[in-house]
């Protein structure tokens, strides 16, 4: 008879679901759920980026752009074309995935910093496009509209420029609309937990093992027949799709999107979240997103009181980024976990004899 042995993933998932279910009971007013909802949304972005940075060893400095693609696809399709949000959401994800494939394809075969550059440039282009999108319909599109006998506004969607899109509808199942803060809270966390489970499964699958091999040593992985570039592009596309999903959720939860939400600093914030949670640690994503959202909220309150410190969150985030990267490049969570494990092991067993570091170094050369 085999005994039922729950996996770590399953335990974490159950604990996560329980936590999410009971948290609202301890919150006094529903307004306090708003930042918690944002944590769920950003967690979805951070898990994907975490896979990219931790396993593929690449950094994206333009994930806010994929977030924007999700948000704006949802916003445009629902407000201007009358799509159901449930159709607009996958549309944005597919679009983001395609774009990520095109941007990532040439860069992921190359050294680490090329993807960083390409995504940075891409993020800038998307931001400028969102800001400067013309309100009027350009001539060729107007002609096309006349030719097809449909209004020009259908041929040429608008992004609302700097003022953004308003009145984006909420997600709904039949007559039930996710309107109250608590409903949105459960909705976003349901998505976040699904995304976490998906990525935890990927990490523990054949793909995950290949990715870990790539992370350990690209040369060794390549010799073992792992197609490094293919895996990297898959991870990049997955991270973009997740970012678009989060963006779409953002649009339907906040009901409003405007370009400043998707600027370069947002892309850097996503990286900070990954760094805090620890690269290559899926569940650390929640912690990273949580820290930055709550810290940001607190700093905003401070900034409201002392206008001179309005830009203080930028300084704190960047200081965290620099310090963590220098002193614990594996991320806070991983470093602490490893330290605890080492401490536990040190108490239970005598330290095992390992080969001196320089021998390993010679062996790899």
């Amino acid at each position: 008879m085999t005994r039922f042995r729950p996996s770590l993933t399953m335990i974490s998932a159950v604990v996560g679901i329980l936590l999410v279910t009971i948290v609202p009971c301890f919150v006094k007013n529903s307004y306090a759920l708003v930042p918690l909802t944002f944590i769920a949304i950003f967690t979805i972005v951070v898990i994907g980026l975490n896979l990219l940075m931790g396993y593929a060893g690449q950094v994206s400095l333009g994930h806010a752009a994929f977030f924007a693609i999700g948000a704006y696809t949802s916003g445009i399709l629902t407000t201007q074309y009358g799509f159901s949000p449930w159709l607009a959401m996958p549309a944005g994800m597919v679009l983001a995935g395609l774009v990520a494939f095109l941007v990532g394809m040439p860069c992921l075969r190359l050294h680490g910093h090329y993807l960083a550059m390409a995504t940075l440039g891409f993020g800038m282009i998307i931001y400028i496009l969102l800001m400067q999108w013309p309100d009027f319909t350009p001539m060729p599109f107007e002609r096309l509209g006349a030719l097809l006998h449909i209004p020009a506004s259908l041929v040429w969607p608008t992004t609302g420029g700097a003022s953004g899109l308003v009145d984006i509808p909420e997600l709904a199942v039949g007559p039930f609309v996710f309107h109250e803060n608590i409903q949105k809270f459960y909705l976003t966390w349901a998505f976040a937990i699904l995304a976490l489970l998906l990525c935890a499964n990927i990490v523990n699958s054949r793909v995950g093992r290949a990715l870990r091999a790539v992370h350990g040593s690209e040369a060794a992985a390549a010799t073992l027949g792992v197609n490094i570039a293919a895996y990297k592009i898959q991870v990049f596309v997955l991270s973009a799709v997740l970012a678009a999903l989060a963006g779409s959720l953002y649009a339907h939860v906040v009901n409003f999107v405007s370009p400043p939400t998707f600027n370069f600093i947002r892309s850097v914030d996503f990286v900070v979240m990954v760094v805090i949670g620890g690269m290559a640690s899926i569940w650390g994503a929640v912690l990273g997103a949580g820290t930055i959202v709550l810290l940001g909220n607190w700093l905003q309150d401070v900034g409201a009181k002392y206008p001179r410190f309005a830009e203080f969150d930028l300084i704190i985030h960047s200081a965290i980024l620099i310090l963590v990267m220098i002193f614990m490049p594996a991320g806070i969570v991983c470093t602490v976990r490893d330290a605890v494990l080492r401490w536990l092991r040190g108490r239970t067993a005598a330290p095992t004899q390992t080969a001196p570091a320089h021998v390993e170094e010679v062996a790899t050369k």
């Binding site: 690449q58 400095l61 550059m117 891409f122 400067q132 850097v268 200081a319 220098i326 490049p329």
Partner: protein, 321 residues
Amino acid sequence: MTEPVYARKRIMGNLPDILQLLFTGLAVGSIYAIIAVGFTVIFSSTQVVNFAQGEFVMIGALVSYWLVGAEHGPHLPLLLALPLAVLTAMFVGSALGWVLMRPLKDASVTTLIIITVGASMLMHGIASMLWGKDPVSVTAFSKTSGYSLYLPAALTGPDAYPVYIGTQELWVMGLAALIVLLLTFFFNKTMVGKAMRAVSVNRHGARLIGINVSRMVVGAFALSAAIGAIAGAAIAPISMASYGMGTMLGLKGFAAAIVGGLGNFPGSVIAGLLLGIMENFSATYISSQYKDAFAFIILLVVLVISPNGIVALFRRRRARA
């Protein structure tokens, strides 16, 4: 059907416009070229892509503004303020180089990129606290603001506009040329410059022959910061100075460095100049709203076609032929 004579006259009638765009484009391009050279200096000695390069430009612009023109500043003469601004940037640059020392030994590219991005955001935030968020106008280097250059009427027709040659633009171009010349001399003829190049080729080898690698790394950051600060001080009178100016300028210079081939010194100068000119022309003839996007579109296209820069593309063609 237009007769050829008229066609020629129409093109010639546009001549002042074209020359004007070429001139201002060259000035902006010189700035991109200087910033790109700054990237190259750091990349070729440490293999680090310094995403904080633009902030050196911002420091140069704002410090020189504060020293010369700010209301509560010391009102120093420009000749004194410029070296001080450069020194400030060099100090910040060395600090960044020193911070990167430890991760440089074994950290991954991702880690190094994140640290420089963090440094960029940090400077950004501190500058916004020190100088506020509003852009400030900066006094130009010379009292004369510029000259109007009338082209011969035979070329352009009787009622053509003159080409306006701004003195600050001339300063920018002159300083850029000077920097390029001095750097070429530095890397090819001086001992320190050669040592820096040696570090870029092989760190361990350089250490073995007695080069102080850490000092070279910090030196490269300081040098690059100085270059950036000069660019900032020179462009500030044209574009105004603000805490956020570094991001865009840095990214454009960065695009130039990639287009020219990362680590390729003449390539990045040429790419910077071309980028400035192309941007100016596209802003006039295609769309001014998307002016800032052109540099990045070019960057993406180059990354797709030839990730080692356009110069490498030509070199490869020649090698194949």
